[in-house]
């Protein structure tokens, strides 16, 4: 032990930052591991881009190639010529994501804040009221009835927004965040200054809890952007179909036709309406692009939020 310490000390005098850093060899290995994994994470997307740029006829003979023998922009032309379907789907998704995230942030933040307040008399009741919803669910059909029939939201953009607006799990995360990172004294001083609860919340609490809010906001943004299920249930109007659901529909129609390929009527009628392989991949690319561009920005806040809030040392 003494020996190593001595040699280490000797080294340290020569290379003063030795302890901070791993050796160049290990650095290389670590870089390789992290680099390869990062590449593996990005590669499928690149591959799908390549497929979407492949000539359809080449695809039939040589399959999905990394370097196809013939490139083509046909798929994208097909999509843009086939009308405004994709554009509309984009619009729906963006609208739903924006409004949805705003609404759910407000609802979750308010609820979580109230149940985090020790002076709130009914805090236990409302905490349990929220938590119980995480444990049981009534199932799809009763939910469908409430949304479609009782609330009458069928074929309305609200059917895509409201079912995802609240989430007990996020409420609990945010509650923990408030109760650990917002000192009671701050609220008390606000009260002494004569500010009302809402004023305290918006003027003092919100600025303090931005990272936490950003994290929850990102979760719900993702939830809205990637949701296809509510559209499957509640949307018949082709003008209100969001992006993911559109992709999903194409896929399930393909499967339906394959399963019924012996039925001449169905295959003849349905085949015409389906885009080809490359066009489908092009749609995947177009549906992913906004995320690709936007997520590095998300990521920054995300890491901040995680460092400061949801994760406590």
């Amino acid at each position: 032990m003494q020996m190593t310490r001595d040699t280490n000390k000797a080294k340290k005098t020569r290379k003063p930052r030795d302890f901070h850093r791993i050796t160049p060899g290990w650095n290389l290995i670590f870089n390789l591991i992290a680099g390869i994994f990062a590449l593996a994470c990005v590669f499928p997307f690149v591959f799908v881009v390549i497929i979407s740029l492949t000539d359809e006829s080449v695809l039939a003979s040589e399959g999905y190639r990394l370097i196809p023998s013939q490139w083509s922009l046909e798929a994208y032309r097909y999509i843009f010529e086939s009308g405004d379907t994709l554009l509309r789907a984009y619009g729906v998704t963006i609208l739903v994501t924006l409004i949805g995230t705003a609404i759910s942030l407000i609802m979750i933040a308010l609820y979580a804040y109230a149940v985090s307040r020790k002076s709130f008399r009914y805090r236990r009741f409302f905490s349990i009221f929220a938590i119980l919803t995480m444990l049981f669910n009534g199932g799809m059909i009763p939910t469908y009835m409430i949304v479609a029939q009782l609330l009458g939201l069928k074929n309305s953009i609200w059917a895509l927004i409201l079912p995802l607006a609240m989430n007990a799990f996020y409420v609990m995360i945010l509650r923990t965040f408030y109760s650990t990172s917002v000192p009671d004294a701050l609220i008390e001083s606000g009260k002494i200054d004569g500010a009302g609860e809402f004023r305290i919340f918006f003027k003092i609490i919100v600025p303090l809890s931005l990272p936490g809010l950003a994290t929850i906001g990102l979760f719900s943004t993702l939830g809205y952007w990637n949701d296809w299920f509510n559209a499957l249930l509640y949307i018949d109007n082709p003008n209100l179909v969001p992006l993911q659901s559109m992709l999903m529909r194409i896929e399930s129609s393909m499967q339906f036709i394959q399963q019924n390929s012996s039925n001449a009527n169905i295959s003849m009628a349905a085949m015409q309406s389906l885009p080809q392989d490359t066009a489908r991949m092009a749609m995947v690319v177009l549906a992913t692009l906004p995320i690709i561009f936007a997520y590095p920005f998300f990521q920054r806040y995300f890491v901040q939020g995680l460092t400061l809030g949801a994760v406590k040392e």
């Binding site: 029939q149 082709p238 529909r249 394959q258 001449a264 009527n265 349905a270």
Partner: protein, 493 residues
Amino acid sequence: MGKSKKRFSLAITALTALSVVLSGCGGGGGNAASGGEGTPEKPVELIWYTIGTPQKDVNTVMSEVSKYTTEKIGATVTMKMIDWGDYQQKMQVMVASGEPMDIMFTSSGGFDYVQNARKGAFLELDSLIDEYGKDLKNTIDPAFLEGSKVDGHNYAIPANKELPQQEVWRFNQNLIDEYKMDTSDVRTLDSLEPLLKTIKEKAPDITPFAMDKNYIPYVPYDYVIQNLPMAVKLDTTDYKIVNVLETPEMKEALTTMRKYYQAGYIAPEAATTGSTSDLGTSGKWLLDRAQTQPFADNVWSASSGYPITSTPASDPIITNNSVQGSMMAISANSEYPEKAMEFLNLLNTDPALRNMVDSGIEGTHYNKTADNRLENLPESKNYDMPSYSLGNNMLLYLNPNDPDNKWDEFKTFNESGVNSPILSFNFDPKSVSSELAAVQNVKEQFWSSLMTGTVDPETYLPQAIEKFNQAGLDKVMAEAQTQLDAWKAENGK
């Protein structure tokens, strides 16, 4: 906990109250139908769910349709289209939750007809047909109504179209001509061999025998459940259900398939190919098998862009599957079942209405070129409907390249059909559903590779039979036999 339990029971109470209100609405509407509504002055609204990619102009066309139907029967029509792949799932949820609807598309391959009829999703139509559907009954082939009975009752109106199923061999005529082959003697699977052999030798880059994983060699049996090996021989007298894998016909067919596979007539990946549309586009195939209808060759040739011909591979047989291919049912929760029946009656007998539903508005989507002929206009791309799912096909106007005698040929074809012995017998799998699921799994394992000749039937056929029996096929067959015997006695066969 006591507190929240109390709250919970409160919620339940509120719910019950709500459901009363909700059901009250439905009930009230139904009663009102008999009191003054449903006249041209005060039409009722019929909601109609159908399958297919939603079309832009549906609402425009339906408002035109509604004008017509308001005058004729005092009802307006709202059509909701649900995309192919979503139809089954969405209808399941909507029907279960009692979503208001009057008419819906059902078939053996999309929102299963028999299963849902038994579950009570559809209204039983026997008396409604007698009262409001007399014209319809006279118009469509009686075999349709007879064949689509479930447990002795009608639950849906089948579309009048091709009635029997007939298998044909299809040929890529260009290749047949090029290599001077003769298809006139072709009928059985064995009779294909000289053709396959020739093409394999002379044009090795052609797939001689195109097929996908759903291919099953034709044997003269009718399946009790589609794609499961329980079947009854077509010329049966004792109505015995057999395992089709154990029949000499299937054994022989599979041996032939194996021979073809080993000779390279079949693509090596046939057992896993989902679709042969690639081959269709490239034209690199010699023959395959398909279901036909009159003038199918013309349709196939037109859609592939090169001539396709066909010769029969089986007799035309009327089966449950062919009868239940496209039907319209009235929902069990329909507010206006009588009006819905009147509408179905009109749709299946009135050419003006039927063609409006099918092709859209005259002058916008199509032009009439003769009494029973039409020509699509560019706008028709916004209203491109699957004709087969929308009622009586034989009322449809002809397209420019349809022959004059199109529907006569269909009638002749329909008359040529022979009833399957088990037509209108519908197996009720409820008591054996767990066995059935297991059988289904075994099928997924063995079926495609056996049927396409990918594996040797000498070793794999006995294995498959044993696996099926282990999974409980015996029990399922026994149950089916009991039901069939009871059905036979009841129907005096």
